[in-house]
Symmetry: C3
Subunit: 487 residues, 3 copies
């Protein structure tokens, strides 16, 4: 981009300047250094924020399951990050971004070989790793409280190391067959605008979870003998709120961070540039989540008669999952619409889940799958021409398809419908057989005895909480809790 900088500037200095080329090179190099440093700072801190989402998932999942399975679900979250780190380093990143490659899978940079290049720096790898582990974290919520730990390790490795990287290659790599940056052959002349991954991350994680939860069936007691739904409440609303806020916090790395660069003017010297677009993305993200939370609050109040904080938290996250695809190319007012519909989609999906006796302890398939799919459609409807052309500028062209409702025609919508179908098909075709195979090998679901007793007791060395000592208990069997109570 800045490659013509010294030549241009040297020409402007002209022959009367003692060392025009030298001066121009000096200045341009300094400016280029600055750009690298600023963009790296921006990308790295965004990556750290995205990483903090893993903490958010861990707390959200822990609070949403029963106390007897807390150790189990937290361990899976820690291992998402840890195993994901190794697998994504060894081959995940290569499958996703190893360029040049064909449109279906990357094939360079295994084990970070030849990194950094002019295309990718280490910070880019770190950022993408944080995305990859988020996808695995989503799935773990769907199959919580009844899945064998070994099954968990296997699917997590497969998802982070192969399924997710391949999907992200299709839509985000410059070589991907449906990528918006594969300028030589854009799908429908447009490509898919899935900016931060409503499809690539959320739908992938959600649909993987859907198959897992479908194949192993609902938890014991989730539907009673007469088939009615019985809520198996999570053990701590405080952890749910903590996790939700941490996810909100981390989402500011997820969505605005997906620009990966902030020092990129749309017109040099103007106050309006990519830094504004980054800010706008943070604002659209915020508004979508806020609207979804309020919609859920009043909706649930009408439906259930309660003001329910855990439902509001889920609604909020549904709004975020939906805006993720279009956050950089829509107006703030459109984000409000996005959030409103996302809350309705989530409520609808939850209704369907109960109807079909589908049990998902964290509503992960409904939330990330359903709201993610809505987000993809939403982007195809509301993407604004100006923003699309700024954020996804094609070198040498001034225009590309944008949102249907904004007058941009149906090409983008067509590409996005293809995206939804293809993601659904691919994830089903890979994760479905995997879960089915594990099921047949009796490696997927734990025994009913283990499930009733809780996995922490049977597999993870004990219960997560010990508020009172054994000694105290023996001494005062009946009054053992009194010291705590009279405090």
């Amino acid at each position: 981009m800045a490659s013509s900088c010294p030549a241009d500037l040297a020409a402007m200095f002209g022959a009367n300047t003692t060392d025009a080329a030298g001066a121009a090179t000096f200045i341009c190099n300094k400016l280029s250094d600055t750009t690298f440093a600023v963009d790296s700072t921006y990308l790295l801190f965004s990556a750290y924020l995205v990483f903090s989402m893993q903490l958010g998932f861990a707390m959200l999942c822990a609070g949403s399951v029963r106390a007897k399975n807390t150790m189990n679900i937290m361990l899976t979250n820690v291992l998402d990050a840890a195993a994901g780190g190794l697998f994504y380093y060894l081959f995940g990143f290569a499958f996703a971004f190893g360029t040049p490659s064909n449109g279906f899978i990357g094939r360079h940079n295994f084990g970070l070989k030849d990194i950094p290049t002019t295309n990718f720096d280490y910070s880019y790898f770190l950022y993408q790793w944080a995305f990859a582990i988020a996808a695995a974290g989503i799935t773990s919520g769907s199959i919580a409280e009844r899945t064998q730990f070994v099954a968990y390790l296997i699917y997590s490795a497969f998802l982070t190391g192969f399924v997710y990287p391949v999907v992200s290659h299709w839509f985000w790599s410059v070589d991907g067959w449906a990528s918006a940056t594969n300028y030589d052959s854009l799908l429908f002349g447009s490509g898919v605008i899935d900016f931060a991954g409503s499809g690539v991350v959320h739908m992938v994680g959600g649909i993987a979870g859907l198959w897992g939860a479908l194949i192993e069936g609902p938890r014991i007691g989730r539907f009673d003998q007469s088939g009615r739904s019985v809520a198996l409440k999570g053990h701590s609303a405080s952890l749910v709120v903590l996790g939700t806020f941490l996810l909100w916090f981390g989402w500011y790395g997820f969505n605005p961070g997906s620009f990966t660069k902030i020092l990129a003017p749309y017109e040099s010297g103007n106050y309006y540039g990519q830094w504004s677009a980054v800010g706008r993305t943070a604002v659209t993200t915020t508004l979508a989540g806020c609207t979804a939370a309020l919609t859920t609050l009043f909706g649930k109040r009408i439906l259930s008669g309660h003001w329910n904080v855990t439902d509001v938290c889920n609604g909020l996250l549904g709004g975020f999952a939906a805006i993720t695809a279009g956050c950089s190319v829509v107006e703030p007012w459109a984000a409000v619409i996005c959030g409103f519909v996302a809350a309705c989609v989530l409520t609808g999906c939850n209704y369907l889940a109960v109807k079909f006796k589908y049990d998902d302890p964290l509503e992960a398939a409904q939330l990330h799958g359903g709201c993610g799919a809505w987000g993809i459609i939403f982007t195809a409807l509301f993407a604004k021409e100006k923003y699309v052309n700024e954020v996804y500028a094609i070198p040498g062209k001034t225009s590309r398809p944008y949102g249907l409702f904004m007058g941009g025609g149906g090409k983008l919508l067509a590409a996005h419908i293809i995206q939804i179908l293809v993601i659904f098909a691919f994830v089903s075709a890979t994760m479905g057989p995997l879960f089915w195979g594990l099921h047949k090998l009796k490696l997927l679901r734990i025994s009913p005895e283990d499930e009733t007793a809780g996995m922490d007791m049977t597999r993870h060395g004990g219960f997560a909480y010990v508020y009172h000592d054994e000694d105290d208990q023996k001494a005062f069997p009946m009054r053992k809790i009194e010291p705590a109570l009279s405090a």
Copy 2:
């Protein structure tokens, strides 16, 4: 600022340079792009940190109330952020910063119309939104455990959408009648130096809470028949410490972030510039909080005989609330004084609260109102000439009033006393009648039955914590906790 850059530089290149204007424009544009990108990065990440304070408030409030009201208080914190996002987007930001306007209320940029401009970018809105929701979060602590949820929704919308924006317009907008940046008519030739909002944020939130808590009265059981104070301990000190540390973490966005720009030299080419002032602000903030914590530790040890962690946490936050006004214009040693006095002010206010049978579950009015007011006075006493002139430089003037004890005369102090009175009067005149009206309409306080049972049970669909299953309980009624205890 950079507007004369190309002209100046072109003149320096002179007539012998082939395209002096072109070269100068090129270089200046690149530098301007860099400045926008660096400042936006700084402001955005500061905004994210300020947002994380909302998580801190949620955890602090949750831990400070009894377990039976945890869901209620956390829901109010989530909705502060969510409802605040919508209201501040629709009109709060316009009331606060919509310029040009009169000195009392802004009137442009409703719904982010015409944003970004040369004055404001989206990132600025996001930053100010995070401030607005903090004010509402403070108030929710004062009226915790006994307020109807509907009353909460009403006051929160009114505070975030109108009261807080108007006050911030007065003191922070370039048009505000008491603003330090309203160069045409500075109050007492000085204006108010409330850098990050000891008055604008903390006093506003604290006084709103004071009226709410006064009007609805103390919680049942807070003062016994003989009128003695009975501590109603919060249910989890771990959550209190978690929340306090998160607030500390977020305060690094609140105070140093209030510069909103970091790439602003005081004298170009020198190592000393706004980046140093930002660092100094972080240091003064840290020292004030640390001193207040230690003062509280030893003070409470003498008064109560215990080393109490929740009191230390409150003392720490009191120190932060106090330093917030002057953090950018005082020396580190002065911050130590600020923190020491803040701890004493908080202890004094708590003593008065007990004396007057005022019940504030989070000590929010005492902490944010009392320590906030002290912070305003402190700034007027200790603001250093050099720092005031750097941070609040008036174009074309070299000096402005500074701290009384630093030899700067009483003008700043006069302005700051006006600020305290005016904030107290305005918040009382708006929030007082609102709470009183809700009280008369029987919309403010919950019924005694609900209060005794806890709002979570009666209004929010159940208790926040479920450590043991119903099934286990039925099977082993007497030994049901054993598996946990023998772990």
Copy 3:
């Protein structure tokens, strides 16, 4: 710093035909210098905030790892680490550590931040170093948890943050330090110690201080039964342990990559490869070491104990981080995987030894930070890559310096690093050992057995940390009091 010749060079290039060459050059160079300060300050400040968040991580990790009856106590110590550390480090800790010019053993300028900012240090640098200092004290508090008097805690914490840690950091990190890699005039063995972010300076110091404290006061009551067998005294909340671990992981991205303190520093101006890449690489090596250690611990513990244990995995993860901290900026990602694998083994081994010698450390702090920290120092001396060492620790006017033994760089770095381990062990033992011993003799160190059994929260801190049910409810339904919670 590097821009001092900038205006002169650029003015010469503009030459005599430019109307005001000096003016134009100064203008441009000043703007670039302003930008550099702003970018580096932004980077350093946000890194400092991340490191600060580790204190929250320590607080939650410690709280979850102790029994419920001592939660208030341990959290208070963590809050005070930060608060007391802030004052002491401001008053003299920073001066002892970095007050330059000074001798090689202790600094002696900038007390109370006098004369700051200078061309060397800005306020942001102080803030960053303060966040490091309180981390060291936080480590030690874990080792002596659940049985130490609060007054003893205040005394050792002040001494560690205000004197011991600053002196050690002066030796290895100050430009004047006798073993510093940036003391170009007299490098130890022509190399100096490459302890980039403090496996030795922070982790070993905190771990060894904890070792002496825990050794002197002995194990908790009930930790080893009459027949001498080890009885696990489980922490009260695994959720808090996981929360704390993730927060530490989050903060470690400020700790390790942040230790560059500058990001706008090209290795060759105009190239895409510069310090910003090295910063990214450091974040990657940190991540990989922790991940590998976590997985190694997972499978290792599964084989040894038959359980998939999340708290052990968390400790393994942190052990990997503590180990990579020394070499994170100068090793390849693949080497970080080796570092993490061995760190997990070292931690398991140290824990085995601890049980054997009846050493009780509620947070495994001495094993984790001391043991894995020492391994990290050795690891750096073995695997430091020539290219990276010369980039990150470039000596002005020289092109090469010793690097890792296994990478063909000879034994000089290893020699320096062995000296580091010995010296840190000796110095911390010679200062903290007598302090703890003196407190022990004065009966100020350990609480009474009655207090220990009842829990310190009850006896010293005004009550239990958790109150899930009301007194009122309890009186009304003495037998069924928990029912509302259970039937929810």
